[in-house]
Symmetry: C2
Subunit: 650 residues, 2 copies
């Protein structure tokens, strides 16, 4: 289907991936890289098809980079690559099995020579994977660059990328498919679920899981939003009656997260990533160290002692993070002092100017928090880079942890302070509303308005280009590629998840004092779906599909938040005047009771998490069946291989 | 080595396993079973060697069961069985790899035709596994027993066992080896570690892990015992100073359990069970239901709806367990009332008889607890059986959970009551001492003295037999088999672990008020090692080796206990007069502080559990290397299998 994509007739293959080298790359290096990509697999090449985007430089293309290459592959090559990658596809009997080239005919949807069996995103992932694993054989350096050493087994593409010769590799959009996806996804406003399977087919599992989680989270929040409305608008709500609401909250957070695991497992199973074995992870490009031997693969690669990394983590990063947290708390205290001072000033002599002054501390504090967040983010990235983690996944985990802790404190410390130190419920309510509404407006601006504006500007530029080439409605393929190469790169789902995480925090921690919060979050999430979809389809370069079986470290983060929510809600319940009135004479009895209730809730939470299986029964059975069959097949194979000599004895 | 075992010369094979059928079994059933065991594998048999223990009944053997059979196998057959079982052995390069018959020469210690490569316990396990998986083909019933139906695929041995035709299958002891093991293990008292590798070689991984855990637990308790001595004997100890001790306790329990996981992983790795894939589990013999198809294997087998089982668990078992817990609490309250009443009586009019009466409630309570424990155990077994679990492992988990909860309450409820309701520290101390010392004396009697006495009696009988046959020093092989068949069966490590669990509870929960507890437990454990070793070597039938990678559900149980210990110790700290004196005016402030400290400890515990890897780095690397190599090998294999037709295009 997307194979029909129009492409200038100088090549006979479907371009899938674009590979951009620096403009001033020496011709010998270019030639060498291309030859390695084209070389037969048995000679250590990738056996792909490559062609230069702009073979002859026309006059008006002078300013464009000539070293942009299109990479494609034959169907057979892609199918073999799919096997290498360990892709899991639906078998003819409805189960999900690891694809093998030998059994290709037995897979569902496999027709003829296999055209259309793999989605475009899968083909692009295969090409990326094979390019990444294109390894140096005997070469000692990249031709033309004696300084860029290559040792046997080193990934050529990663080396050239980290040295700045290879600027980027990115997958091409399929305009037809994208248009179809956009129309069902976000271009009309209607009551329907997102087309998750189509999103996954076009963008891969990692992004589809994000959108799946976003949708699930929004729907799961609906009951809380509906319960919250009468609490907010009618008399129910008077700061005292929030006990029932807090208990709802507790149950909701636990059940919601457990259910998501099961729902996510269903999605991942149907996408074939649930049982996919993780391939051996290569060191991340920025990893450096003395050249040594990897104890697992035996390959030559940089080695960096674990002990040194631990020293860096525990003696530098950890103290730095703690210091930052301390500074953030100090800033918060200054803010509360300033607010108190301004309030005092206004009380003594209320004028228009002191009335205006009342807003100043909040505004300054919000700006300072935003600045601190940005600065800290840079520092965290620098530190995590400096910790020199071998794997991209470890790097991401350490970075996520650092950023999460700081963001959590920045967003929630003031609320905790108001709730438990000042014990001022009206102020808590007001602060929560302010934080929630401003952060939503800010996010909506940054994620919906800004992308929309960028999109508009881009459209204009495209139209100008079109009028230049005067080709009518369709943009020539070369222009389209250049355009995509210029788009900014999507940096992953981190910030999107972080936003959801903070919203989840506002609702689960404090919504009992501001029951309308859930509704606000639902409304925010609905627009979030549209703005995120717009962003990923129109604003950014197409990202490579990323196989994912779950939302990874975020599941842990959300679960930690829900544990904190238990503690917070119990404490809030204990502080409600309604509950306090039952224990007029003995405060310590009340505290003991609240602590007991909290412990019971925590234990229940753990039991629930233990009792509810993470993977639904029907999927467990399917997984077990495939495993059982492969074990039986192995046994049969062994029986055939068993020694022909008769067994002695008897 | 053990192949040299002397055996009457009518057979040419080494007997490994004994198979005892009921005395009145019909001859056709016996013949049929033997033929199935002897039959070639390609015809669906087990291809083992079998011979009757007592071919011609001599005069004095009339009273003995003639249907006792010895089973053995040729070396090739055993090696093929080892591959079926998925045994993991040390490869020539020092790594642990799944054994395959084809690559047998590349494994370390493989010499000649493979004699001595497998331990006797492994051979016996292989025979048991193959006998268990001997399946009915077309037979509709066991010959001679039209009522004992067989459907295709049903395990013959399990069927005959559950119907009472097959009485038992058990592995034979190797007298020479056992003597050697005993002498290094428990027959001399000396300062040395247990010969865990030899234990594992003779009894299998599950038992060796138990003894490994017992030893580790004892050694890990030593620091606490040493810290406890001065606390107990010198002035340090006056109920007030236990804060430091409680904190030591908290750290110790956490670190100890985390370290055990690593140590256990090392053991399991060196024994080849850490990375062993679990075979598909067959339904347990007692499982019944309507005949249907297993959704995983597609085989015909009983099917029992999950919903029904859940109804039984949640509507019958759970209420029953809760009722039992309630009754146990009631009994405890009666005990406290009785004790109070007796104390009052003694205070009013102290005579010799009232002095004696003082002990009565405790004694009665102890006896009642013991009776309740036994009754409850039967009830729990009955209920868990009635819940009709499909797998033996699920059955065991449900039974363990039921028994654990009840035993925990029985042992600790009174201590909790004294500590937190009565807040009577001297009484807590006294009760703890009584419980600990009496339970130890009881256990030592049941586990050391009783086995020793049994052993003595057995020796006498053996000597009498010997004098009858007048053969001198060595018992004839047939007598030895009969003797072993008469020994009682070892029912698994459950009770042994339970005892350790309760001892761990006494130390981790309350030892801060009775610091000498750890020392008592250490002393108990040292004798425990000897008595358990004696028991398993001399008193019971040799158990089949059971592969195990860890201590299973007990790790969870010990960790739950250590979490409860955090809560308890924090509460005890908060109640100490020493701490209370810092907060003379505000009790609620103290409580809040204690709760905060407790939460910090709990969080630290979880972080520690998360940060300390469960498997030591060097073993992770070894595991990763084997996986990486097998992946690479698979890739190479695929390359060879890749289509011969050249890839089109370009």
């Amino acid at each position: 289907m997307w194979a029909e994509m129009s492409f200038a007739d100088q090549t006979q293959f479907t371009p899938l991936v674009v590979c951009e080298l620096a403009e001033d790359t020496k011709e010998e290096a270019v030639e060498w890289l291309l030859s390695r990509i084209k070389e037969k697999q048995r000679n250590g090449g990738a056996e792909f098809q490559v062609s230069r985007l702009l073979p002859a430089l026309s006059q008006d293309d002078k300013k464009e980079n000539p070293n942009i290459f299109l990479v494609g592959a034959s169907w057979q090559r892609l199918l073999i690559g799919a096997e290498d990658l360990g892709l899991i596809k639906e078998f003819s009997d409805g189960s999900m099995r690891t694809f093998t080239y030998a059994n290709r005919e037995d897979f569902k949807d496999f027709q003829g020579d296999g055209d259309g069996f793999l989605s475009m995103a899968e083909c692009q992932l295969i090409i990326k994977h094979e390019l990444d694993t294109l390894r140096a054989k005997q070469e000692t350096y990249v031709p033309g660059y004696p300084k860029i050493k290559l040792y046997p087994g080193k990934s050529i593409v990663r080396r050239m990328h980290s040295k700045g010769i290879l600027l980027q590799i990115f997958p091409l959009h399929d305009k037809e498919e994208l248009k179809r996806l956009s129309s069902t996804w976000y271009q009309q406003i209607r009551m329907a679920f997102q087309p998750l399977d189509d999103i996954r087919r076009y963008f891969g599992e990692s992004l589809a899981l994000y959108f799946g989680f976003l949708e699930y989270f929004t729907l799961a929040m609906l009951p809380m939003a509906i319960i919250g409305i009468p609490y907010y608008f009618f008399d129910w709500e008077n700061y005292d009656n929030y006990v029932v609401f807090a208990i709802c909250n507790l149950i909701w957070t636990t059940v919601m997260l457990e259910m998501w695991k099961r729902f996510g497992a269903c999605l991942a199973y149907s996408w074939g990533t649930l049982s996919r074995k993780k391939a051996f992870e290569e060191p991340r490009p920025g990893f450096h160290g003395v050249l040594g031997h990897n104890p697992v693969t035996g390959r030559e690669e940089p080695v960096y002692p674990n002990a040194k990394r631990h020293l860096r983590i525990y003696l530098v990063s950890l103290p730095f993070v703690l210091l930052c947290l301390y500074v953030s708390l100090c800033v918060m205290m200054v803010y509360f002092d300033a607010e108190g001072w301004v309030l005092g000033l206004h009380d003594v002599e209320p004028t228009f100017w002191t009335g205006l002054l009342l807003f100043l501390p909040s505004i300054v504090y919000a700006v300072v928090i935003e600045i601190m967040n940005r600065l800290y983010r840079y520092a965290a990235e620098f530190l995590t880079d400096w910790e020199n983690h071998r794997l991209e996944s470890t790097y991401q985990n350490h970075l996520t942890l650092k950023v999460l802790v700081f963001n959590f404190l920045n967003c929630f410390a003031s609320l905790f302070y108001i709730a438990f130190v000042m014990q001022d419920m009206p102020l808590l309510r007001q602060s929560l509303a302010t934080l929630l509404i401003t952060s939503q407006i800010l996010n909506q601006f940054l994620e919906a308005f800004l992308p929309f504006w960028l999109q508009k500007r881009r459209n204009k530029r495209v139209q100008r280009n079109e009028s230049q080439t005067a080709l009518g409605s369709k943009l020539p393929f070369e222009k389209q590629v250049m355009l995509e190469a210029d788009m900014s790169t999507y940096l992953g789902t981190f910030d999107d998840y972080l936003e959801l995480f903070l919203l989840f925090g506002y609702v689960s921690l404090f919504s009992c004092v501001y029951p309308i919060a859930a509704l606000l979050v639902v409304l925010n999430n609905v627009t979030e779906i549209y703005s995120d979809a717009l962003k990923i389809c129109q604003v950014f370069k197409r990202p490579f599909s990323e196989p994912a079986a779950n939302i990874g470290v975020w599941q842990l983060a959300f679960e930690s938040m829900s544990i904190i929510a238990v503690v917070t809600n119990c404490a809030l319940i204990g502080m409600s005047p309604q509950v306090k009135s039952y224990f007029p004479e003995s405060e310590s009895q009340l505290i003991l009771l609240v602590v007991a209730v909290e412990h019971v809730f925590l234990v229940l939470k753990f039991i629930l998490a233990f009792v509810i299986p993470d993977i639904p029964k029907h999927i467990q059975i399917k997984l077990a069946r495939v495993e059982f069959e492969s074990m039986e097949a192995l046994k049969k194979k062994k029986m055939l291989e068993a020694p022909a000599t008769p067994i002695k004895g008897q």
